[in-house]
Amino acid sequence: MRAALDAVRDRSLTVSQKYMALARVAESTVKALPVSDAVQALRDSGVICDLYEGAAPFRPRYVVPDYGRFVKQGSAFLGLEPPRDLDEALASLLVLYRHVPSITGFPVYVGDLDALIEPFLDGADEDGARKAVRLFLLQMDRTLTDSFVHGDLGPRETRAGRLIIEESRKLKCAVPNLSLKYDPDLTPDGFALLAAECALDVAKPSFANHRIFSEDFRRLGFEDYAVVSCYNGLPKGGGSCTLVRLNLAKLAPLARDRADLLERALPEAVRLQLEYMDARVRFLVEESGFFESDFLVKEGLVSFERFTAMFGLVGLAECVDAHSEGRLYGRDDEADAFGLEIVRRISEQVAAHRAPCLEAALGRYLLHAQVGIDDDKGVSPGCRIPVGREPELTAHILRSAPFHKYFPSGIGDVFAFEPTARRNPRHLLDIAKGAMASGLRYFSAYAADADVVRITGYLVKRCDLERRDRTPDLQNSAVLGRNAVNNLGVLDRRVRP
């Protein structure tokens, strides 16, 4: 009860943030899942972590509605006819966003925004359309108050895409996070350059490798994908039931040497995490009733056959360092090769596993390079090279790229640039294109003095990061961002000349 009272009395939370905190307290009082002693031991030591998902999963962690279908059919549950013009379309979307569940209470995906809006721009005048798009973005930022809210753009250039990028650059908001699905054959340079210029100012959009994502998801049996939350690739019209992560930095000390890690500690931990994920997925699917009762399912905006689950990992760098006798991950080829071997083994074991009650991807879980949580200390996100030892820009990208193919449900690198990069945005575009061509799945950039900062995957306004007065934040992610700045050195990223 103590925790509940603490939440009630907390002066740094808004009332709606208190609701969320209280719901978490309530959920933690039930023991809904069968958790073996072995799993519990690894949870207690922080090797396995479910990232605040709660003890009784009652909604999928990541819900990725088919908004294209929604604007065609409207919604019986919401009492909405299919929209006929731009105002109706934007209003309908804002209504639906309010009802898309997640762990945070806000939708992690708001659609392929340009493709959704473009048909409604037919006949709309420039000023009116621009104003409507600006207000749409503004309302998202002020009502969907955390920056795991994510919209996609591209790969083709559209009028809507240009409007969204131009207005995002002017608004300087943290929400929504944006990805440009980039394909050199489909995305014209002019449009990509507009995105690069915007990224220098407001840290978005990031570049998502459309070829790699679409090939991976096609191979897994999905027609289409979306990039959601931080940078998570997931099947459109479905999502992910859960995300549980393996903290390799904390696993490393439990192994005597490299052989012991690869042959015993690692496969055992992976097996136990899969067991824990199975239990969470089974409860959500069989006990919670989500897939029987939620209107998103009934109206076909998501369907059970497109729900997978994400196997996360974090802290590869620290794990490799711990077993490399002074050689450093990200600096030494041999250390990197060992890191790749760890990831390859995890990938193989996860790919061989079949979830007991999921149909998507034949029951396979997808690998995800988790970016960390705000109280991680000395644990680098996913497979990233630790802040403070980043190599020269292109060397950094070339070292990172081989890891990216293992992570269909998301991995990415973030780069800070000198403010002078604005004089030559074509430079950033060249780097982004090179990164895509070299096999990087996801590339994020911003200028070191940008108004919006990319923390690990999510965004926080610089003024919110610098605030120290302990009054409530409008956006939940601002709190996470301040902690991450202290614990992960986010603002100390190497600044690229």
Binding site: T394, R423, G434
Partner: protein
């Protein structure tokens, strides 16, 4: 070229990625050696050639330098630099009695392109800079031809002391030239650089006429440079060549950081002075003026 030995360049440094040496992301090849001695030089260690006296060897805290007796082509002693141990601390440059650097390497165009092979997807092209790259024109020409064939257009960053009209193959192969005009008046130029500027002015007209002048730069350093005369003179030459509208004129504010203190005591220009020069350039017909 078959049977002929490829020209080697004396390379001070290869940079894989730069945002400030031409449009887009460019690799930069810095060549060692310069024939101007500009008072405001920011890279004075790239001016003189190493004479292998060995004064730097003991100064290196990383043990990256050593003497190889008889290591040269004619059996003379050489200072050898081990790039893999070098910490780039600059102690060798500070110890050099000539203000030079031992950290140079003889490379062919093919060797440079091999180094850049994995970086190609990231690059708009290569910029060759210095030192003064025109002093190694044969190598520069090789590099421009080979790089173009490899899909990496070359921009030449030059002080214009080399007569490029005598190098049509280089001019044809290069994407363009970025030419420094240090001063317009011969006397001012000599005082600033200890060299004349007849060749610079000839190159200005020749490269503009050939459609290969990508950019002209003037470093605005009050008391050292006749910037207004530069702007007027450049505009006149470019107008005559029909290139005033398209050629970038960059007005670069002199900054004292990194400059040899004995040579320059004056502060850089104010914003107003730069804006006035830019306005003058535009009124003289320059279509693309940038202040840096």
């Amino acid at each position: 070229m078959i049977g002929q030995q490829a020209a080697e360049g004396l390379v001070a440094r290869v940079l894989y990625s730069s945002a400030v040496d031409g449009p887009g992301n460019r690799a930069v090849v810095f060549l060692q050696g310069c024939d101007f001695d500009c008072a405001y030089c920011h890279n004075p260690e790239t001016r003189n050639l190493c004479d292998h006296c060995g004064a730097c060897v003991g100064a290196c805290p990383a043990g990256a330098l050593s003497i190889a007796e008889g290591g040269g082509e004619g059996g003379e002693r050489r200072v050898v630099w081990d790039e893999t141990v070098c910490r780039d601390c600059g102690a060798c440059v500070r110890a050099c009695p000539k203000g030079s650097s031992p950290k140079t390497r003889r490379m062919t165009a093919a060797e440079i392109l091999a180094r850049l092979e994995r970086r190609k997807p990231f690059l708009s092209g290569i910029t060759v800079s210095g030192g003064e790259c025109g002093l190694q024109a044969a190598f520069l020409e090789d590099l421009a031809v080979a790089a173009r064939a490899a899909g990496l257009p070359v921009l030449v960053d030059t002080n214009g002391s080399t007569d490029y009209s005598a190098r049509p193959r280089l001019v044809e192969a290069a994407e363009g030239f970025m030419l420094d005009v240090k001063a317009w008046d011969q006397g001012v130029h000599r005082a600033l650089t200890l060299a004349g500027n007849d060749a610079v002015k000839r190159n200005l007209g020749y490269l503009a006429g050939a459609g290969k002048l990508a950019e002209v730069r003037v470093v605005v350093a009050p008391g050292l440079v006749d910037a207004e005369a530069c702007v007027r003179g450049i505009a006149e030459v470019l107008r005559t060549a029909g290139a005033a509208g398209r050629t970038v004129l960059k007005l670069i504010a002199f900054r004292r950081e990194g400059v040899r203190p004995a040579r320059v005591a004056l502060p850089g220009p104010g914003r107003e002075e730069l804006e006035a020069l830019a306005a003058l350039a535009r009124s003289e017909g320059m279509g693309n003026v940038v202040i840096v």
